[in-house]
């Protein structure tokens, strides 16, 4: 016990080491921009970014950049930051600078990949946002559960089951809203199973989550091949259509991306704000977090640890159910076997990457969604990097964060520990 605590402190507080490591990281990223991208473009080549997503009318002109000059500037600024970091250090702003340099690297990659060609940047961002929705919502489910001290690796299973029930009930009832409600209830029901197993029976929370994942795969595949595949009428719920918000959707660039979406994306933004405020600025949130950090102390102060955890896991289940509804009711309008395809686990990664906070999760969800949508574009652009490596990036990034290389996340202290009342 003692030695682990010391180890953690060393990683967190050993600023000279960390300062040097980060400086070298910045320098390397700058060098990489120059080495991989700058040298790969012709002297006079330009990169054109289309700023209007497909299907939209706009007078907005394309954004044309001289590729080589842009890349050289990006490389130089990154290296400059690296030098400053090594000599003086950015102190508290190191992480912000890291984000900036990483952003430079990604932008440099885009400039290089689309050099001499045109790329629809707005379209890319649009896909990024829609891919980020299930990841963010799933991660919010994780935040709710884990802030109260219950590990939830069953996000995947909850989403999958909710996706199927949403499609089935939506088709039978003929109403998208009833379908969505049933999806949310399905998530809650599985959340209840998770809560009863892990809070009442004190089952190991990872096993309880695994049970739900296995069960969800089994039951959805069973019901879908027994009923939904032979009878397609049971698998045709339709989708929520995009709602264009007047005025706001006319804002250049951001308007069409942000304000012409379906229910799920708007709901995601609302949930983000509500959860952020709820967790960090209300008594409800303080109680929930205290149960996740130090249940015994919370109990002494009269907070009912068990009830709080039940509530958090049920809400988390509902959130995962809502995320599951997105797959069938918000995007393809059909259920396919195992259609979540591991996105629940990426959501888990996004939650960890986002440091157990709503907005952090959203940022991570965007980043992972961006990697996903970019992977689909590589082949079109003729870039000779296997798209699989981009798809690996979220997982590798999460492992690096978990290892504490770029600063350790603040996970709830009692996460995963069943509470025993004395």
């Amino acid at each position: 016990m003692a030695s682990t605590v010391i180890e953690r402190k060393e990683i967190e507080l050993a600023s000279p080491t960390r300062q040097r490591v980060m400086g070298i990281v910045f320098l390397l990223l700058g060098a990489a921009i120059w080495f991989f991208f700058s040298r790969g473009v012709e002297a006079g080549a330009t990169t054109t970014f289309d700023l209007v997503p497909g299907g939209f009318q706009s007078d907005l002109a394309d954004w044309t950049l001289p590729a080589l000059a842009t890349l050289n500037i990006l490389a130089f600024v990154s290296a400059f930051f690296g030098g400053v970091q090594l000599v003086r250090g950015f102190g508290k702003r190191t992480n912000a600078i890291l984000g900036l340099v990483a952003g430079f690297f990604i932008f440099g990659f885009l400039v290089w990949a689309a050099a001499g060609k045109s790329m629809n940047l707005a379209g890319l961002l649009n896909t990024t946002l829609s891919k980020a929705v299930p990841l963010t919502l799933g991660a919010l489910s994780g935040v709710l559960c884990e802030r109260a001290g219950v590990v939830n690796i069953a996000i995947e299973g909850m989403m999958l089951a909710a996706a199927m029930v949403g499609a089935l009930v939506g088709s039978v009832s003929g109403s998208l809203w009833v379908g969505l409600l049933s999806a949310v209830l399905t998530g809650m029901l599985l959340g209840l199973v998770h809560a009863v197993l892990s809070i009442k029976y004190k089952t190991d929370q990872i096993i309880s989550g695994t049970v739900i994942n296995i069960f969800a795969v089994g039951i959805t595949s069973f019901l879908s091949s027994k009923f939904m595949q032979p009878n397609q009428a049971l698998n045709d719920p339709g989708v929520f259509r995009p709602i264009e918000i007047p005025l706001l959707s006319k804002i250049p660039i951001l308007g069409p991306i942000l304000f012409n979406n379906n229910l799920f994306i708007y709901a995601m933004f609302i949930f983000l704000v509500v959860l952020h405020v709820g967790l960090f600025y209300t008594r409800w949130g303080l109680r929930l977090r205290s149960v996740g950090e130090h249940p015994k102390a919370a109990d002494t102060l009269g907070i009912n640890v068990f009830n709080t955890r039940y509530m958090a896991v049920l809400l988390g289940g509902a959130m995962a159910g809502f995320a599951g509804g997105y797959f069938t009711l918000g995007s393809v309008g059909r259920f396919d076997e195992v259609m979540t395809a591991g996105r629940g686990f990426i959501a888990l990664a996004a939650m960890i990457f986002g440091n157990w906070t709503p907005f952090g999760s959203f940022g991570a969800g965007l980043l992972f969604g961006f990697a996903d949508s970019l992977a689909g574009k590589l082949a079109i652009l003729g870039v000779r990097i296997p798209s699989e490596f981009l798809l690996m990036a979220p997982y590798v990034a999460t492992m690096i964060v978990l290892a504490g290389v770029v600063g350790r996340g603040q996970m709830p202290a009692a996460d995963g520990v069943p509470y025993e009342k004395e």
């Binding site: 990872i206 069960f215 089994g218 069973f222 091949s225 699989e388 490596f389 492992m399 978990l402």
Partner: protein
Amino acid sequence: MSDKENNNKQDAGKVLIEELTAGPEGDSFWERAWNSVSIPLLAIFSGLVLGSILIAVTSESVWTAWAQSPWEAIKAAFMEVRIAYGALFSGSLGSPREIISAIQEGDPDQIRRAFNPILESLTASTPFIFASLAVALGFRSGLFNIGAEGQLFVGAIFSVFVGYSLVGLPAIIHIPLALLAGALGGAIWGFIPGWLKAKTGGHEVINTIMMNYIAFRLSDWLLSGPMQRPESFNPVSPTIMDSAKLPKLFGPPIRFHIGFFIALGVAWLVWWLLFRTRWGFDLRSVGSNPHAARYAGMSIVGSTVAAMSISGALAGLAGTNEVLGLNHFLAMAFSSGYGFDSIALALLGKSHPLGVVLASLLFGTLRTGALRMQVTAQIPIDIITVIQAFILVFIAAPAIIRTIFRIRGAEGPEEAITIRGWGGE
């Protein structure tokens, strides 16, 4: 060394020995034996009962009978379940009548066909044995290896590569080499999260989940690029050399190969390592009580890294067994979730190699029988996964089973594992 420290060490040793030798309670041998198998057996029984309820309520004939009278519906439900489970057992064990008549006739072709189901069940159990040994070894050392699936993929990649790229070796060298390569691949994939856990405290559950997906993407890339079969448009690897294929013991249609015996041998080896060597004692000590183990001077770092690597190697062998014994090449998504099923099996077998082998035999049998059930009774094979989830619930929360069957018994520390939160300890 001060007195206090000395005392602590002695206490630590006492605690460890008490924890590790604690067995099921009971006065006589039979009582103890019953106490240790009652929960798993009742869990399997309850799982099958719940599965039959699912079969009944999703059956059309039951609902048409319901329209007539509830009694008819119950009769129809019994019929439906009998057909389904009948197909399940005849599909996995063969029918005794067929076996007897085949032996009387003496026609070798007929004998092979009669014995095929049971041998097919053993073949299907083999990857389960390897993979659940992997998870069980992890549990014994206090680690939750949820990444058997990824390790299995990497093992398969390594062994297929050795299988097709080395030409002209005799089988006696080529097969062991390919097996070792598979174990090595899995071991590397287990080593990384083990090392990260030991050095940085990053939780192995998250890291092994991440490693799973990295392995899937890696195999996607390899199969559509460097390892893709020439002149093929499908993402499949070349077929391995004949010298690397695990020998089949009987003629077609029997697919049974020596992989099953290798699995039994490995299970014995794991038992010997865990329960008959000092290294295994250290490993189990760290698993059951890391604080006491540290006081007793055991290396937590070393045992974590070693346990994850060996666990990975075992999982790698599961994939290796499939590609060298059955498929003879690697395709995308060739594994049907052995790595995840194995978590349930390791728990069902109480993380003991013998229990794990028995649990794996059970599930290999169920899976094989479910194929027949799918054909004769139109019940999707996924019902096995559902039954498995039910069994796992009852194993993980034995209190439920005790309540259902009114068992009064040891509330003691019978769970093989407890994970201490994301933070490690």
